[in-house]
């Protein structure tokens, strides 16, 4: 009953945030339903599913080539001073939440969480429903997670992967990407 001016209802076509600074490579497959905010760069061949959220609240986010980002994934950068770099060939499972810089060929499981106080190297696996946080004694520096680390279980234990079947995994990911690039544009409007 108050006479205060009602906010104008947002039309469905309007984006949630300002997307003027989003740069998408012409060969990337980014679905219209994905949510972006701030300064975001998407590399060549990356596939982003609907409802993924890539929110550069403060600093910039740069995503490399040939990544797969599933639905409900949150990639956040709340730090003004740093650019969040995500390398090539990473896979993000449903509901993963990543706030750290990431190397190449990592796999993030469903609803895992990677906090901002680590830096992930290459070929790491973060299991579903695990939290990857720094164990460094000095909290001022981010901990560098070595390559081939596997994070698993309810206690988020770590062990090393012996890199067996790495070739098969790489080729499977490549085929997966090819498949998604073929199928997704048939069901969605794809951002250019």
């Amino acid at each position: 009953m108050s006479s205060a001016p009602q906010p104008k209802p947002r039309s469905k076509k309007e984006p949630l945030y300002d997307e003027s600074q989003v740069v998408i490579h012409p060969e990337a497959t980014v679905v219209q339903d994905a949510v972006f905010k701030g300064k975001v760069t998407i590399g060549k061949g990356t596939v982003i599913h609907p409802l993924a959220q890539i929110l550069a609240h403060e600093g910039e986010i740069v995503i490399g080539d040939n990544c797969v980002i599933a639905e409900n994934v949150h990639i956040l950068n709340s730090d003004t001073s740093k650019t969040l770099q995500i390398g090539n060939k990473n896979q993000f499972g449903t509901g993963a939440k990543v706030q750290a810089s990431v190397g190449n060929s990592n796999n993030f499981g469903a609803r895992c969480e990677v906090l901002a106080d680590v830096i992930v190297s290459d070929y790491c696996v973060v299991g579903p429903q695990t939290t990857l946080r720094s164990r460094a004694l000095d909290p001022s520096q981010p901990e560098v997670i070595p390559s081939y680390t596997v994070v698993f279980g309810s206690n988020s234990d770590r062990r090393a992967w012996d890199a067996s079947a790495a070739q098969e995994e790489a080729s499977a990911r490549e085929k997966h990407l090819e498949y998604l690039r073929e199928v997704l544009p048939k069901f969605y409007r794809v951002r250019k």
Binding site: M1, Q6, P7, P9, D33, P50, L51, E71, N72, T94, G95, G109, A110, R111, G127, P128, Q129, F152, G153, S154, S171, A172, K175, H176, E178, Y179, L180, E182, V183, L184, K186, F187, Y188
Partner: protein
């Protein structure tokens, strides 16, 4: 424990859509690729669910007549990516997506089959290949790719099942990674069916409550030329 005396859940046609077969589907559920999703009736899909029917390879469009007719029928049945029985119940914020893997050199997504009386809780992520009759997945579970859940299985709250797990009939699973913790009595099928049927009957359709005109004008669902400001 649910019983027939539970309070009814009022639902309005403003928030839910109803089908002839008794499905109750929230209008805010994100259902992608609806032509590839089969839900057989008396099912409830709650708010904020995501169902991915779009990850299926699009095969040749069904031919008209001739020998192509039977062929296209087979292909059409293969393109169903989520196939659910009756009395399916999916809680808020759950993601259902079919599992995918490399098979004979090509990548493919496979069909996710669900039996009757399947209950899935809130905020789950389900990538199972099959879920049997009367199985219950409680809240916050993650069911990995190509998990086979047989009949009348209970997956406890917060379980994370690794990919390719097989859950036999009448078992209870818990933990991260998920392990078998218990077996269930043989009388489970009767109780589960009664409970799921009673739960479906709790959803009572009510008329959308008439809101004050200012609130209604602030969130128009469809713009009409007959609105006051026009």
């Amino acid at each position: 424990m649910a019983s027939a005396f539970l309070d009814p859940i009022p639902i309005s046609s403003k928030e839910y859509a109803f089908t002839d077969s008794g499905n109750v589907i929230s209008r805010s559920a994100k259902i992608y690729g609806a032509s590839n999703i089969v839900i057989n009736g008396r099912s409830v899909i709650e708010k904020g669910c995501v169902i991915r029917g779009d990850l299926q390879r699009v095969v040749a469009t069904p031919g008209v007549g001739g020998s192509a007719g039977t062929m296209s029928m087979q292909l059409a049945s293969n393109t169903t990516s989520v196939n659910a029985g009756r009395y399916l119940s999916v809680g808020q914020g759950t993601v259902l997506r079919p599992p995918g893997k490399l098979y004979k050199g090509t990548f493919n997504y496979f069909q996710m089959k669900m039996g009757d009386f399947v209950t899935i809780g809130q905020n789950c992520i389900v990538e199972a290949v099959s879920i049997g009759n009367g199985s219950e997945i409680e809240d916050d579970c993650i069911i990995g790719e190509f998990v086979t859940i047989k009949d009348f299985v209970i997956i406890e709250q917060g379980t994370v099942l690794s990919p390719n797990t097989v859950c036999p009939n009448l078992t209870r699973w818990a933990g991260n990674p998920g392990r078998l913790v218990d077996s269930l009595p043989e009388s489970t099928p009767e109780t589960v069916e009664a409970r799921v049927r009673a739960n479906y009957k709790r959803y009572k359709v009510v008329k959308p409550e008439s809101k004050p005109p200012s609130a209604a004008a602030a969130t128009p669902r469809y713009p009409t030329s007959l609105s006051k400001n026009a």
